[in-house]
Subunit: 364 residues, 3 copies
């Protein structure tokens, strides 16, 4: 059994442990930590199941499946947090996922990939399109936030209606992005990503689709239990650790939700498959910004927990600068270890800022 598999099974043991911790009252901190660890192997398994099913159903439907379930873990955690009224934690985890994928994951991928390969390259046209999409995402959260920040008299209702309309625009754009990348201009994406994925997926095997759908269903169910434990214990656990809910939402929750993607992006970067690595890192950011966040706005309306796109201005600043520096580094289609360092340094600086940021009303 490989080391990777051993780690996987050890982490899986936290599923029953976390359930025990919750029902036997072992303390909120224990529940939080064990639920967080239990989510890691489940999320990884969901990823594998989605990819295996994608191999069977073909690239178009498979791509759609990946695009929809790719951030399922984060979506599930966020929905439970939203239902529990933790709107600010949800926003913080959206912020953190975008920042984490663009700076931490892409930074680590470029740094570790760059240690092995002097210069790495990827499709610059795709990088620039992703950059423009991320700029649109920044505009989408900048506009409601700036409106609230620059005007005293804007009503909460207006902000929610605006957010709902913007969410609809974003979901439409996300759909069109899929149409573009999978249908009309798929040749732009074929070069590196598909080739990389195929090699990874070991193309000649025929996955058992029913088995993997069972795995997907089971993991989704378990992730939703663990998410409830995680969210339920979040406030008590983080205050026990001396962390603010803002820091937890921006830094810790996204690391739990994105761990699987992190591992993939870094592994393939070290194999010099930068197109695939970036498509995981940037693709995950785009999915959060153009699909998960708008779905949560709509879900919030339905759950009676109105969530708008009016973020804490400091979170907006963090997202905007992350997009800025990630775009400036990726848009030439080349990377090296120093560029990875610059992304990681940005992540550390933002992380420090969220650590020192005073608790905000309503979030802690």
């Amino acid at each position: 059994m490989s080391v990777k598999k051993k780690v996987f099974f050890v982490l899986l043991a936290f599923v029953p442990v976390s359930i025990a911790a919750h029902f036997l009252g072992w303390g909120e901190l224990t529940v939080f930590v064990t639920a967080g660890l239990a989510i890691l192997p489940l999320a990884a398994w969901m990823g594998t199941a989605t990819e295996e099913i994608a191999v069977v159903v073909g690239p178009s439907l498979g791509g759609l499946l990946n695009a929809t379930f790719g951030n399922a873990t984060e979506l599930i955690i966020a929905l439970f947090a939203l239902r529990a009224g933790l709107v600010d934690v949800v926003k913080a985890s959206i912020t953190g996922s975008i920042i984490g994928n663009l700076l931490l994951v892409m930074g680590l991928a470029m740094l570790l990939g760059g240690f092995r390969h002097k210069e790495q390259s990827f499709q610059p046209d795709v990088a620039r399109l992703n950059a423009a999409s991320m700029n649109l995402a920044v505009i989408a959260i900048l506009v409601p936030t700036a409106m609230e920040f620059t005007s005293k008299s804007v009503s909460r209702i207006a902000l929610q209606n605006l957010s709902l309309a913007v969410a609809a625009v974003l979901i439409l754009v996300y759909g069109l992005t899929l149409l573009f990348s999978m249908k009309t201009h798929s040749y732009l994406y074929d070069v590196g990503v598909v080739e990389g994925s195929e090699q990874l997926a070991n193309n000649d095997h025929k996955p058992n689709v029913w088995k993997w759908m069972g795995v997907l269903l089971l993991c989704t169910l378990l992730v939703s239990f663990e998410s409830e434990f995680l969210v339920g214990s979040l406030e008590a656990a983080t205050s026990e650790l001396g962390l603010t809910a803002l820091f937890t939402g921006v830094v810790i929750v996204p690391i739990i939700g994105n761990a699987a993607e992190h591992a993939t992006a870094v592994t393939v970067a070290m194999k010099n498959k930068m197109d695939l690595s970036l498509s995981v890192a940037v693709g995950s950011s785009m999915q959060i910004a153009l699909f998960v966040a708008p779905v949560l706005v709509i879900a919030g309306r339905l759950l009676g927990q109105p969530m708008d796109l009016d973020f804490n201005p400091f979170e907006l600043v963090a997202v905007a600068v992350s997009v800025l520096i990630a775009n400036s580094i990726s848009s030439d289609g080349k990377s090296n270890w120093l560029e990875g360092t610059l992304l990681l340094a940005s992540y550390v600086i933002l992380g420090l800022a969220f650590y020192f940021h005073p608790v905000i009303e309503g979030i802690g």
Copy 2:
């Protein structure tokens, strides 16, 4: 008679109708709508007249003519609005013209052009120079706005003096931009634009310069009447429609003022002449930002309606993000339908924001 010509003559009929509406007291809304419709064919004719005269007087003087009269309609409307004391409407229409040209016109051009042609290309060096010029324009309105926003004690006089000095710098830069594009580095621009224009202008005919100067004079006169009707009825009409003056200024007035350019940019994009299409869209934005806006600052001083470059912070945000995304999309010299979609989505999001934006003191 072609469909285009029929539409033209139908719209021309609104000239007498709007005059009647004004003098016979048919209501402010009627005056506003008919004057707005009457301006469309007049603006189109002014554009044709300018181009025909340019053919006769040669490229250098003709380019200068185009560069000066290209946004004559908007300048005339703005001057009347300024004289009427509607300083905030003037600023809003400057904001709206820049946004509209960069996002709506360029977006439609790339989208509709991209439906016919998988990938379209244009001179990247010119696109990058335009991007840098638009960044300068953002700096020019950012600086007074940020000064007012970040400092409580800045005096109105200081802002006006600063704006006047900045306006002088911008007009100088605009002049140098013309010198660059028409004299010292005209070869950069020759590739696509001139070729496209020549084909459009059907180069072997000899236009009657006196006829076209008469047309230009007559249309300018009529546009100035219609502008007075439009501006005079603006506040009453828009409140009757339930729109704020901000939304009218940012969205409706610029569409009236720019309709002719819109049509040209989209038509030539569908013929795969992207250099010409972008030179119309981005060129018009540059002209507004580096020439029309500074001229209005100076005119405001002379008219005793002091206008400064201290914009509503939200308008500044809108201009800045429009320039950001337009630059990120155009600077590689290539476009496709998804990039058009991203620009249009940005326009829709900003338009929604201006729709939901609460009325601002002094503007409605």
Copy 3:
């Protein structure tokens, strides 16, 4: 004796004059002006001495020497200002050095170089890496400034601790940047810069290292005296001139501190050595942002004059837009006179803004 040498010796005469002015009480304005003029030849000599020593000790150690002592004059002035409690003047001069190098120096180099050469080119990969490093620097000052601006309850202690941590990250990044440019990826930099430097340094002569170390020591000592005179007379002299301390800090002090680099960057640009010219201009900005500013944060803590990276928001805006437009102009690896004009126009607009900016508490 060449004109250059004559100017040098005339300026050198201000060393004794400024000392006399200080001790004989000729007035604060006289002290300020003569000390400012006296610093110019000393700074130039320090630059020459550093370069000559670098020739002897070899490229690696020499590069490190250059990278550490390159902005020694500014560092010395800033340390004296910091000890005198003029924290805001120090921040203003950091702002001004970054702006001045990116806009004034690079602008003049591109403009004057562009008059002689239609189009000039330089290594775009290096330009893009520098752009990304400058974006990181913007993030480093944006984060504490935005935290203070968007939150009422942030404590001064938290800001200082955050600034100290960010400073450590920046110094680490600066070290890694040197490692990248001098060791792992030196080939990227070799093309233009080294070739240019070698020609300038007239490679076949063997400099007397002891002589130049003596010059370096003497000049450093004299600069530190003159800096004390300059700082001591700054407040009285500038108020006598009717200037605010903000304007002095942002515009005048950096021109004194950077005059030698200005001259070099412009001279080599006119000889069409743009790689060397930009490495001086942008390199100097990077050094200020990633090395001098963080060193001052740490020095401030040790001197009991706690300096943080929480800048005046308007200074932040100025730095951010300077980096934005400098990056947008340099990242394609080509330049012409219009691009130089756009940079200079940005500098003039920002300079006007600082001239009209009301005096800020604590700074004047």
